[in-house]
């Protein structure tokens, strides 16, 4: 486990020391590949038998492994995509070599902080790691690129809101610590493995208070409405590979914190309390994001609001509870972590081709760049929840859990908002994909000279390959859930112990 944590740090250091921008890109890719090779056996073994090291400070079980696998995979995808992306930005004079060095160093540091979140057993250590992700990613969003003043505004909002929010999560952690000290004394009183054992003996009213603070705190970080205001700005202003990481996995890491807390709070307070809170937050998130998706004229912001919607759906799944609900939520975590990065990668390419993030300035992607168009189309269909794509499957599972429990109001609202969202996404991206390209004569294509000749270069080959891979996963997951994913999720449900 220690090796897995060390690899990103070493990669980050090496990336900062090199001076050649090509070399740094390939080094970071190599680092990400090495990381995935080392993490696969660790993740496989953690699924069958949990590991605990460093005096119970670090701990890995199936749930950690599940999220960690996503982090490693998306880290690899993002490192692959970054090479071509940064090359393009460098040619456009938007970033210099110092910026590139810092970018790659921080990218791997960012992966490191997220990995720490998944393996920390100590709840306060988890808080420290989540706060560290905010700090590292804020620099990635705001600094390094020239001529991006808005990114500074977005990063300022991001760091202020998330730090304030997460301060409340620390207060919640303190309160949980207080409750557990009352039962077992200070020894290991913050370790999740200890807490899960004594969860039914904790004081219910104290744990209720703790859970509210934690939900507000980590919920801010996970982008749950109504504390989501930072999210559209940060996700739309960040460089595309970073947006993919932020949206695909960072939100899930924050939500992972909530899941761990739910599992220790529920035995003492009962599932009605946590479930209702999560369902209410979920429905509000889906509702608010659906309205903003409908009126959005900027496709990166549209994707950001769609992230809020999907986090709302995950929260709904956990809130409904029961094996089916949790299964749907965890499956949705995976599906969203595939579809959203694909869309952000694609939107990065569209942005660099058309030089605009407004929907009306982009026309006829499908006919002028067929491969990119097809990938975007697959991503958009998947995100809007169209069958037979992956997200439809997990949304349907969550819906079924809701129907089984007879939560008709919730089901009705969810369906209503889901229809609005799919209309918003499909109409937005439909305009970009299918409008005739003639109307884009005045679109600033001249901004990106030599792009078509550069299309056949190695970096672009890489980024296309990674996007095609993700698209294949999306299609496969729409038809069938492979056995190893199925068994991992079932193991996670057992760990969370929510029934």
């Amino acid at each position: 486990m220690i090796t897995i944590l060390l690899i990103p740090i070493i990669t980050s250091g090496l990336c900062y020391m090199l001076k050649n921008h090509r070399l740094i890109g390939y080094l970071s890719l190599a680092g990400a590949i090495v990381l995935s090779f080392f993490s696969i056996p660790a993740i496989m073994s953690s699924i069958s038998s949990p590991v605990e090291i460093l005096n119970g400070m670090l701990y890995m079980d199936a749930l950690s492994g599940y999220i960690m696998a996503l982090i490693v995979f998306l880290g690899l995808a993002s490192a692959t995509y970054s090479i071509g992306y940064l090359e393009h930005e460098l040619r456009g004079g938007l970033i210099n070599i110092t910026g590139i060095r810092r970018y790659y160093a921080l990218l791997h540091l960012f992966i490191f902080t997220m990995l720490i979140v998944t393996v920390s057993n100590n709840l306060a250590l988890m808080w420290i790691a989540i706060e560290a992700t905010t700090i590292v990613s804020a620099i990635l969003i705001g600094l390094g690129f020239t001529k991006r003043e808005l990114a500074i505004e977005a990063a300022w909002k991001y760091i202020i809101l998330c730090t304030v929010g997460i301060t409340f999560a620390l207060l919640g952690t303190f309160i949980a610590y207080y409750a557990s000290i009352a039962v077992i004394g200070t020894e290991g009183a913050l370790n999740w493995t200890v807490l899960i054992g004594i969860a039914n003996r904790l004081n219910p009213s104290t744990m209720k208070l703790a859970f509210i603070f934690v939900l507000v705190g980590y919920g801010t970080k996970a982008g749950l409405a109504p504390v989501h205001n930072w999210l559209p700005d940060a996700h739309s202003q960040a460089p595309s590979p970073i947006s993919a990481l932020l949206s695909g996995i960072l939100l899930n890491t924050a939500f992972y914190g909530i899941m761990r807390f739910v599992s220790i709070v529920e035995p003492s307070t009962g599932s009605v309390f946590t479930g209702n809170l999560l369902v209410i937050f979920g429905i509000i998130s889906i509702g608010i994001s659906s309205i903003f998706i409908l009126v959005q004229d900027n496709y990166k912001r549209l994707l950001a609001y769609s992230s809020i919607e999907h986090m709302g759906i995950i929260s709904l799944g956990i809130g409904i509870g029961g094996p089916v609900g949790i299964y749907g939520a965890l499956l949705h975590v995976l599906n969203h972590a595939l579809s959203k990065p694909l869309m952000f990668f694609a939107s990065g390419k569209i942005q660099s081709h058309y030089g605009s993030t407004r929907i009306e300035n982009v026309n006829g992607v499908l006919s002028s760049i067929p491969l990119l168009g097809i990938l975007t189309f697959i991503g958009a269909l998947s995100l809007s929840g169209t069958p037979p794509f992956n997200i439809f499957l997990s949304e349907f599972t969550i819906l079924k859990a809701g129907v089984d429990k007879g939560m008709w109001l919730m089901v009705g609202l969810f369906l209503f908002f889901a229809v609005i969202v799919s209309y918003g996404i499909l109409s937005g991206f439909g305009k970009m994909l299918f409008n005739s390209p003639q109307s884009s004569v005045q679109s600033p294509q001249s901004l990106t000279p030599g792009l078509l000749t550069a299309n056949r270069r190695l970096p672009d080959l890489f980024s296309n390959a990674i996007m095609i891979t993700i698209a294949i996963f999306i299609i496969v997951l729409g038809f069938t859930i492979p056995d190893f994913i199925d068994s991992t999720i079932k193991e996670c449900i057992k760990i969370l112990g929510i029934l």
Partner: protein
């Protein structure tokens, strides 16, 4: 000596001092005095931890006290002063609302906290007032963040919140294990440094340190 601390309720005096320094933020006009006020608040916090450490004879509390003194009492104020010099901002804090109103609202906040925590779900130890005061300091910090226009004042509001949070954690559980305490402080320090860097960037690109210029992103 220990009797002495109890007889004169030194702990209560110090925690009231922490509350008063937080309330004083509402009335201060210059950014420099806000930083001084924050330094004073941190010193009191450190002193409080030291005294409790003396009373319960816990080594890790002494460490926490010293680390608080070094980071919050020394490093962060120095850094903030440097940022203010570098930005060459006008010295006025320029709140959105008048000082009198601001003070009144802070007073109401304190009253609300005391009223709502009267039933006291928590009684661990050394003082009845510390938890209420810490929650009040968190809320006042939040209030300052909302009502101030300058980037640096917002950071100071955030720092007051963190101080209040430390006090709350401390009153609930006699502090976290040392390693956790250090990790939290490190995060906070990095956060303040990054915020400082961004504040300078905002000043450079928007030609102003006022946050009301940051209204382009919405919807």
């Amino acid at each position: 000596m220990k009797n002495w601390i109890q007889v004169f309720s030194v702990i209560d005096f110090i925690s009231v001092g922490i509350l008063l320094t937080a309330i004083a933020m509402n009335a201060l006009k210059r950014i420099e005095s806000c930083i001084k006020d924050y330094t004073f608040n941190s010193l009191l916090l450190s002193l409080l931890i030291a005294i409790v450490a003396f009373m319960v004879e816990e080594t890790h509390l002494y460490i926490a006290s010293i680390v608080t003194l070094l980071s919050k009492g020394l490093l962060i104020p120095m850094f903030l002063r440097k940022i203010v010099r570098q930005m060459k901002v006008t010295h006025d804090a320029e709140p959105y609302i008048s000082n009198a109103l601001s003070l009144t609202i802070s007073g109401i906040l304190v009253a609300v906290v005391y009223a709502s925590l009267k039933e006291g779900i928590f009684v661990t130890g050394f003082s009845k007032n510390v938890l209420q005061i810490s929650i009040a300091v968190i809320l006042i910090g939040l209030f300052i963040m909302i009502t101030r226009r300058k980037a640096v004042t917002q950071v100071i509001g955030l720092l007051f919140m963190e101080n209040g949070l430390f006090l709350a954690g401390f009153s609930l559980t006699f502090g976290m294990p040392t390693i956790i305490e250090l990790g939290v402080l490190f995060d906070m320090l990095m956060g303040v440094i990054i915020l400082g860097i961004f504040a300078v960037q905002i000043k450079r690109y928007f030609a102003s340190a006022d946050l009301d210029k940051l209204t382009i992103l919405k919807g």
